[in-house]
Each structure stands twice: as C-alpha cells, then as structure tokens.
C-alpha cells in the first residue's frame, strides 16, 4: 500500500519548496539512524557498568538485544525506501542478506582462514613452522591417545546410540507403554551434558574398599560380594564409560526419529513378506531396515558429528585426565592453558577436516526434506 500511495500523491510545488523538502528529507534520513545508534550505544554502556539489581539488568539486556536488532532492520529498510526505485532494488536485497553475511564472515569465514594460517606458525605466531604442528598432532603420545579416544567416541557412540535407538523404536512400538517409554527415554536429550555428567557421577562414584559405596555400580558389585572398581581412572574403560553417558542421552533421539520413520513403512508390504514365509527377523532385516535407511543414516551422521566435537562430558567428568582427553579438550588446553596458538589451531583444523565428509553426507540425506 505504502508504495502505491507515494506514487499517487505528488503535490505540485515550487523550487524553494522542493529544495526545502529535499534538505528536510536528508536531515531526517541522517537524524533517525543517529538517534537509533545513540540509543543502542547508551544501552550498551549502561549494561556494561550498571550497578542495578541483576534481575533489572537481565530484563533490560533482553529487551535491548532483541529490540536493537529489530530496530536496525526497520531503520535500514526505512532508509532504503527513501531512495529512488532503481537504487532501492539494488540495495534492499543486501539489507536482507547483508547482516547474516557479515556475521558469518566475522564469526566463521575469517576465523577459519586465520586458524588455518595460524596452524602453520609456532606457539606465538611468530615463526613459520610449516606442517610441524600437524606432525606434532599425529605423533605426540597425548594427541595420539586423544585421536584414539575420538575414534572410540565416533564408533561406539554412533553405533550404540543408533542401534539401540532402532531396537527400542521397534520394541516400544509393540508395547502398551509406548508413550511413557518414549517420553522417559527421550528426556535426557533436554539435559545438558554437564547436568548429565553430574547425574552419572553418582553411578560411577568410587570409594576405597571398606568405605560405604555411594556409586550405584560399585554398590551393585558390593551386593555380589565383589570389591569396588575405580571406574574413571583406568583406560580405555573410562572413555567407554563416558561414551555410555552420550549413549544414554542420544538413544532417545535416535528412537524417536527412527520411530517416526517406522510409522511410514506400509503395513501391506510387511504383511506380504510374512505371508511369503519370512520370519520376523527377515522382515526386519530385509524390509523394515532398507525402507527407513535414509533416516538411520541421518540419525547416525548427526550423532557422529556430535561425537567428533565432544567436549562437555569429558570436561565435566574427568577434565580430560586419566587419558580420557579428546581432540576438542586438547585443543582448548593447547589454546587457553598452554597458550600455544599454533597447536591449538592445528587441532581445530583437524576437527574441521574430520567433520566435513560427515556433514556433507548428512546434508545430502537431508536435502529437500522440509522441517
């Protein structure tokens, strides 16, 4: 409507009026963004050093943050609409996509390039060392253990989460408790890995023999007359036990997604298979699995990406000690504890190279499916 009105009402004016109107428009066009900027800046300064009660700061921050972004779009659009139509057509698309491109450039593109570059330099970024950091990454014993652990995470985490999710989806479907089971098994998904780690500390807790065991696993061992085991200190068992936490969290996800796909398998096809004399296992293996295969791949690649970048569970459970470190925790340690920018960067690039094929495969499965 606005555009039509603007075209429909060009009132006849004298030269002086046109000039005055033009200058006025320019002044307004400058004034509005300046005011917007000043308001935002004042808000930023206030938030930075305010001594107001936390709850007030938090509320102001939320309104300021969301309102500020919305305001920037409104002002930018308002300014663009003041321009002649041809310029408007040229600039408006960049009002829409520009902010996203700018943020992505600053937060992902430039850092990726800088990190790749930094990985070729020494700890202080002074001296060019070629591929030394990568050689170090694949030869240093601590690193080799981290890579081994990440492989364990990738294989066990992905296979068990997906496999158990599939098995449970099939089982739960045939049970009367399906709703309850789905909700309860899916629920850990909403819990942070840090929260999950606190939960599992009470499963793996260890006290020397003779003292009361408050950890569930050791209490069960005790009930059978066996001595307690220090679960989290011996490798590679400790990594496997950390992976169990991931499986606990992700199986529900796999179950629900695969369960949704199972509903789409036509019953007639399965019935036809049974009539032809196939056993239940054959029906499952030859008919069900192939028809939901794309979903299984999506779930498996999703979990695989998660395992490659795993960080929180290890940090919260063992801090990466007892040889439980993974690439992401070592990267953090190199970068922020040892301040070795070169090695930290090399590890980050290794992570990027590791996830790229998995994400590419995941996207190929995902493409065309609307959410």
């Amino acid at each position: 409507m606005e555009r039509a009105d603007a075209v429909a009402t060009p009132p006849p004016r004298g030269i002086a009026q046109v000039l005055a109107a033009g200058v006025g428009r320019i002044l307004v066009s400058i004034f509005v963004p300046v005011v917007a900027f000043v308001v935002l800046w004042a808000g930023f300064l206030w938030l930075k050093d305010s001594g107001a009660p936390r709850i007030v700061i938090v509320l102001v921050a939320i309104v300021w943050g969301i309102g500020g972004v919305a305001m920037l779009y409104v002002v930018a659009n308002w300014l663009t609409e003041k321009l002649p139509a041809t310029w408007q057509g040229r600039i408006l698309p960049f009002v829409f996509v520009g902010p996203a491109l700018a943020i992505l450039t600053f937060y992902l593109l430039i850092p990726a390039v800088l990190t790749a570059w930094a990985s070729l330099f020494d700890a202080n970024g002074q001296e060019f060392v070629g591929l030394d950091n990568y050689v170090y990454s694949f030869t240093n014993p601590e690193m080799v253990t981290a890579i081994r652990n990440n492989v364990l995470w990738l294989v066990f985490g992905t296979v068990f989460s997906t496999g158990m999710g599939l098995a449970m989806a099939v089982l739960v479907e045939r049970s009367r408790l399906d709703r309850l089971a789905k909700t309860l098994i899916f629920l850990p998904m909403a819990i942070s890995f840090v929260g999950a780690s606190v939960i599992w500390r009470f499963v793996y807790s260890y006290q020397p023999e003779g003292q009361p065991q408050v950890g569930l696993l050791n209490a069960i061992l005790g009930a059978f007359g066996l001595g307690p085991v220090s679960w989290l200190t011996g490798e590679p068992l400790n990594t496997i036990l950390l992976i169990v936490i991931l499986i606990w969290g992700q199986t529900g996800f796999a179950m629900v997604i695969i369960g949704a796909a199972l509903k789409g398998v036509p019953d007639e096809m399965l019935e036809a298979g049974r009539i032809d004399g196939a056993t239940e296992w054959q029906v499952f293996r030859r008919l069900i699995v192939p028809s939901i295969w794309p979903t299984i791949v999506t779930v498996a690649t999703t979990i695989a990406i998660l395992t490659l970048k795993i960080y929180d569970i290890v940090t919260a459970m063992t801090g990466g000690n007892f040889n439980t470190q993974v690439i992401a925790t070592l990267m953090w340690k190199q970068a922020f504890t040892f301040f070795d920018a070169g090695r930290g960067a090399a590890l980050a690039i290794i992570l990027l190279v590791a996830v790229t094929p998995v994400i590419w495969y995941n996207l190929r499965q995902f493409r065309g499916r609307a959410i």
Partner: protein, 282 residues
Amino acid sequence: MRTIKWSRVAINLTVIALIVVWTVPTIGLFITSFRDKQAISNSGWWTVFTNPQGAFTLDNYQKVLFGGDGLATAFLNTLAVTIPAVVIPILIAAFAAYGFAWMDFPGRRILFITVVALLVVPLQIALIPVLKAYLAIDLNGTFLAVWLAHAGFGLALATYLLYNYISQLPKDIIESAALDGASHFTTFRRLILPLSMPALASFAIFQFLWVWNDLLVATTFLGTDQDVAVMTSRLVSMTGSRGQDWQLLTAGAFVSMIVPVMVFLALQRYFVKGLLAGSVKG
C-alpha cells in the same frame, strides 16, 4: 495365540527394564539433591527407601541458589544469554532466507552456497580469533558478545533450514502481495514470518536447548566470574573446585535442568522436528 501372548509379555518386560535403566540415574540425582551432606557421603541414595533418616532437606537448594555459589544469579544470566541468543539469529536468518529465496541480486547463488559451505566450520575454530577481536575492542564478558557469537555459530544452519522452508512457500501469495503494492519488508513481516512459524518454532526450540545447555561459548566469551557466569560454567567450576560438595552439585544440576525439561515436555512435537533439523549444528 499363546506364543504371541508370551512375546507380548516379553516385550513389555523389556520395555519396563529399559525405562528403569534410563530413569534410575536421574532419580538418584533427584533424591540425592534433598539429602544432607553427611547422608550423601555415608550411604547410597537408594537407602532412603529403607532408612529415611536425614533424607529430606531443602538446605541444598537454599544454599546453592542464594549462598556463596549464587546459582540464582547464574540462572538469570542464563536467561539473559539464552533468550536473545535464540531470537536474534532466527530474525537475521529469516531475513536472509527471504532475501535468498525471493529477491534478485547479483551473486545470490554463490553467496548462498558459501553460507551452506560454512556449516562445516566447527565453532572451536572461531574461539581464538573471535576472542582476540573481542579483547581488542573490549567487548568480551558482555552479553552482546555471547549473543553475537551464538548468532554466528547458529546462522549458517538457521539460514539453510529457513531457506528450505521459505523458498517452498507458494509463489502466488508473494507475487500477489507485491501486486497489491506491499514492499518486501511488509511482505516479510505480515506474510512470511507468520507462515513460517512451524519452521521458526522448530529451530527456536533447538537453538534454545543448544544455548541453554552450552558450556564452551559461554565460558569463552562471558567468562567464569560469578556475576556474569551461566549455570553450566558455574556447575563445572563446582565439580572442579569442590568436587566433594555433592549436595550442592546435585541441587545445582537440578536447577539447571528445570527449564529445558519443562520446555521439552510442553513442546515435544516441535522439538523432534527441530532436533532432526538441527543435526549439523556448530
């Protein structure tokens, strides 16, 4: 008939066993969070069923929220981080998705491909360069720093997903809006945003859980100082510095779970779609 019946029983028993295995660790945490320090270190949480002495106290919650750990502050900080860090990237991504889907400009295709390609960059890569830039302009430790970082790490995925949705909206609606004289901005605000609600909601829930439960981004860009730290990073410093204060840790863990679990139970359906959609995050 009899064999079928028996397999039913077996299936139901297996499912019950699975439910028990899956819920027992959480129940253990829940019970422990109401026990006093003495009881926690002297006996397992399961003993409350046979010997309920010292089994129920609200002290842990009282202490962890309002005592030295100040988890109440951390809770507020988490809110202040999460809400804008969900809304801002969705808004920016929706504008961009509309631009890529329905506006014509030079370089559209190559720019969109670049956005999708950036999905492979793990956020770990950005930590050091972005931190350096933040320190240079004195932005680190502010909410804005974390919001923008979360926006940056969520945008590639959000733009890609919302593009998939918005580009599939019927062409006639958008063209007839233009014929009626609606500007792109009006079309976007009045038509595209309401029509895209399912996609926006799915991504919002996914991003909400991601940000709420995030440790890495908040720790790096907001820091661990008590007045700004979020709940996950307070919990980790509690596990590290005073790993023996189980009673506070358990109560703290529970406080941090309440909101996401409620959101999860209320919006389970959207949540499933969001999770599937959010598979390649970060």
